[in-house]
Amino acid sequence: MAELTLVEAINDCFHVELGRDENVMVMGEDVGRAGGVFRATAGLRDKFGADRCVDTPLAEAGIIGSAVGLCMAGFRPVCEMQYDAFSYPALDQLITHVGRYRWRTGGRMGFPLTVRMPYGGGVRAPELHDDSPEAYYVHTPGVKVAIPSTPSDAKGLLAAAIRDPDPVVIFEPKLHYRTMRGEVPEGEHVVPLGQGRTVREGDDVTLVAYGSMVPLAEQAADALADRASAEILDIRTLKPLDEDALLAAAAKTGRVVIIQEAPRTAGYGAELAAILAEKAMLDLRGPVLRVTGYDVPYPYWQIEDAYMPSVERVVDAVEKLLEY
């Protein structure tokens, strides 16, 4: 075990995965010479060469689109989108080709590409460096989506994505890139896609979260400790979802609060709430509540704290449920 920050764990993963499979290559804006604006790809160009850690033109659709062609040539490209909102030009390729191409060949040709990007707010950044766009990606058929919340999962889920035969999109909580440290297994470390993680056990309420909202859920659980014991489920893989883990965590307490940083309407939390409505109604003691961002553009940073889900808002939601 090594004690690493979240972004160091990602870098560690790359060193391991590029070392074990010569078809794996990293590509994106500033990933080579600079080692990535967050240093996620630091040292790769020196170690593996400029053809395996490629500084590309500034063209997100070109990056994902050429990665589709690289897959046809037998590579396993890992594409970095420099920031969440910079990925929007690439949604064209993601939706029209990445999620459909295998299907279009009757399953005869694989597209094992990975897209990863830092996401989320709270970092006092300019506009469009703060988005949580996971719902667009989750809604795209043929694409898997995972969001780690710890350094260990950041390494393990990325390794799983790189080795997966299907396209996978990983969102990394940039708020915790450097502020979170944790134990990370050395060498090869894979966290299988499609498995939720029980962060802590509790009896009175279940907090369901992923990515940067998991530490927030833990803080909220601490704040509630004298009144209620909270179970926390980290979804980890949004698609495919570990539905059994969700239903079990909901049944255990009968009260569910879903925490999601993205805007509320048709966000991923709505999908979780719908599944609970369909399959857990008799286990529930009250309505499923959501604590989310609002249906507004992500704000300028002087008021971003008012936008972001907070401990106070989570505690408030839990209190409403306990009194229901």
Partner: protein, 355 residues
Amino acid sequence: MAQVLPAERDLRRVIGDGDSVPDGEVDGLTDHDLVELYRGLVLLRTYDERSVVYHRQGRIGTYAIYWNHEAMQAGSVYALEDGDWIFPSYRESAIGLLRGMPASTVLSWWRGHPAGWWNPADYNVASICVPIGTHVPHAAGLAWGKRLRGEKACAIAYFGDGATSEGSFHEGANFAAVMRAPLVLFCNNNGWAISTPVEAQSRADTLADKAVGYGMPAARVDGLDILAVYEATREAVARARAGEGPTFIEAVSYRAAPHATADDPKAYIDLERVEEERKRECVARYEGYLRRAGILTDEMAESIRAEAEQAMRDGIAAAEAEPPADPGLLFEHALVDPPASFDADLAELRRVLGG
């Protein structure tokens, strides 16, 4: 740095008019090659004309007509090796026939049947790209990957004049140039993007001028002249194999048929001009060249046409003999490793369907 070369201004031409303009010839092409080029041309023409009939008979769905584009497709593909990759748009839907793909596969595609799926690696022909220009980055990536692997194969991407307005064309062309990808960017400029004339598409004097901005050379050819198309593509392929990167080819023609079976161009096109163009169409032009050269006899022409017609008869029969697609196919193929919900959804669907 890539060298910025001036784009060629004039349309290259090899075939004369049998009158004041003399016929030229292409170095290295044998009589056998000249006949094989004709065979490809006739196969594509037959596919297209039969498809329009099949559509009218309700045997295939909406179909994108490529009548008078055959010289661009057959001429350029003949300049490739079998290991080279083809990235078609919907206008080149039947280009796989030149690589031995059965007509039934392409007809099934236009029938909306899963038998129209193919493995691109079986023919080195990518899937038909429906959204405009979004396959250009794929071709750039494949070609770049071939270079990274040290293979000699190159790629060719086909797109129309309208596609040059798309962002993905730009990103793909620029990627190919920067990565020195062995790629031929083949623009079939037929003057129309459905109802929008090329003059409303770009203020550039020629579409080939765009190549200058990417630091790649360009050639302009008469798109109705299969030999000029072949020769220009052969040069571009040689550059690609020599590690010199991509080339842009602008093949100029005129769309002398509707955009697709669902389109009625009477509302926007000059019908007299269309009639003029139909008289200059590419198959008869090449046939005239071969006859003047004494290479093609009536018997050969008849036999090549009969062979193409038989391929179509076999193709539509096989496509129509495909069993109805099972609903289970909904859930196959999108993912190697489908989620458990797919099984549940299919079971539920079968229960409701009563199957």
